[in-house]
Symmetry: C2
Subunit: 348 residues, 2 copies
Amino acid sequence: MVMEFLDERSKQILYAVVQSYISKPDPVGSRFVTKKYSFGFSPATVRNIMADLEDLGFLSQPHTSAGRVPTDKGYRFYVDSIMGVREAGEFDSENGDFVRQFAKKIENIRSDVNNMFVEVTNSLSMMSNYIGVVTPPRAEKTIFNRIDFIRYKEDKVVAILLTEEGVIKNKIIGVDPGLKQDDLNRIADYLNTEYSGQTIDEIKNLLVKKAYREKALWDKLIARAIKIYEQAIAFTEDDVYVSGLYDVMNLPDFSDISKIREISKAIKDKHIILKFLDELSDSEGVHVFIGNENPVEEMKNLSVVASTYKEKERPMGVIALIGPTRMDYSKAIYMVDTIAKCISRTFD
Amino acid sequence: MVMEFLDERSKQILYAVVQSYISKPDPVGSRFVTKKYSFGFSPATVRNIMADLEDLGFLSQPHTSAGRVPTDKGYRFYVDSIMGVREAGEFDSENGDFVRQFAKKIENIRSDVNNMFVEVTNSLSMMSNYIGVVTPPRAEKTIFNRIDFIRYKEDKVVAILLTEEGVIKNKIIGVDPGLKQDDLNRIADYLNTEYSGQTIDEIKNLLVKKAYREKALWDKLIARAIKIYEQAIAFTEDDVYVSGLYDVMNLPDFSDISKIREISKAIKDKHIILKFLDELSDSEGVHVFIGNENPVEEMKNLSVVASTYKEKERPMGVIALIGPTRMDYSKAIYMVDTIAKCISRTFD
DNA sequence: TATTAGCACTCTCATCATGAGAGTGCTAAT
DNA sequence: ATTAGCACTCTCATGATGAGAGTGCTAATA
């Protein structure tokens, strides 16, 4: 962000190297740059500039007589200060009418939110050739629509929680066998009429507060409601949708077995990804983590481009792409951003 | 099954080769066999026998001066006629009190069936180092416990289907906006009182039959019930639980990148696996598919060991292990079999 | 003074030859 | 019927060689 101190020429060269390396992961040499991008310089001049860029830490050499390769810092500068984000028109001409197609697709499966996320994740990875990740709306942040309890066997009840977004959660909870279906209905009615429209988390707080404030009114109903509600919303799951490991294996970056192991390990424990992405879900806009900038140890050799999608201005979840540091950032940012907005729109 | 014509010595040698190759994927030579397993033969004799086994198609040589490697046919004979299935005691001493541990584990999460399948799949792959696969009970075969409809937005209804096994399915379906909650309740009541205890599929047939037979009685309620029920049970999902790709990558068999691609491709399209395993779910016992015996093209280089689990004698779903043809069949069969029985037991 | 041509130098990579090692198949002896 | 002996084959690790690509430095140039 700060390092605006590169002169125009250096930027051009850095741009050329990054672009070239992104499109093909071979170290790029001075001669190649002069030929492919016809700036007015000779290879010798480019060599000098490259040497400077290397001193600054933007480029590095795999070995003495190889071309240059961007470093994480180089990508960072490229992303911040050189690269233009792709425009819709430009992108669509490469990819067909991408945005419209996509919008249509999710419109069709809008009604089944789960399924929608699966589809989005698949589309993401297929269109980008990177790994697509989508986190569904965090339960706590979604808006309560209604809850229902259905008796199931003697001492068990199925709690069905509906959110305004159309996410359906269900869970079998154990209850006092004395609790009749009538009681359950009363508890459900109580919750549904009093609290519809609040977020799941708010309701929890309100319930607890109410219990304290109105100790006098404290009756069995509310006590039971709190207890059962807390059980019902304690969804254990850390569900994240991840897709595209197979596609990513076809990238030359992962032609090495150890690289594949690495990336598999990174996405194996979904709760690690979830935790990482969850922290983003409070902030807006597109986030880019390049290689070692990445907070997750397992991803120090990968890059992540992520954006939050929202419902009525409140961030709900995250959609992201994971790929090699040699990522087409421009495209990735465009895709993640566009799709996030697309999803936000369907939620409104 | 048929080829019982090998003499004892040949069997011993084949056994030795397979065992040795399973424990370490190096072609096994005549000298090695005589040293490791002290039968009374000299290497030369073993060589002769091996040559015979090769003529019969049980062994093959990677190249002239290498040792022998079992063929698919060799494994098949080994599995059918030579190998003993591991005994509980024997296995447990290697793996701690495996069965008991496992039984305990699934008992704990019994109430949440989905979660249980996730856990089972993970345990399978972790304990075996192969890929664990579990198919949940096929919706059509499960026993209907009850269905409920909850109004959601103007023209949408959430159908909640409970099965006797504790599987909960939900789906948002579109309905005639004129349908009141009262109507929905009546439909639900009708289905719940009339059809509880039948399988999902049977109910569908019964409903249709009823509609035909009692044309006179044909009323709006039944018509609606059929329509809405059919929508509700049309669960699109092909959900299969798969786990262990990462673990399997540490096997020497998959040290080659193309092998990994292959296996990834095989398990990428879950509906392929599902379709394949589904066909097994009508039959009982443990099934073993070795390499090219495999009906799925993508798995011609892999082996599959599968068994069905049952509820009250009716096969419900399949649990399986996918690994290299050089699989520890004895262990795999034992594991799959035991776990399937374990699950069957908890369902009763 | 900034750029560039020229050139020696470095490093990789593919190719080839070499030889040790492992294992075989065959023949002749037991 | 089995086995010892031996020539033979194939792989694999090692090292040498040379082409190719790209650099850094120096001296010439605009």
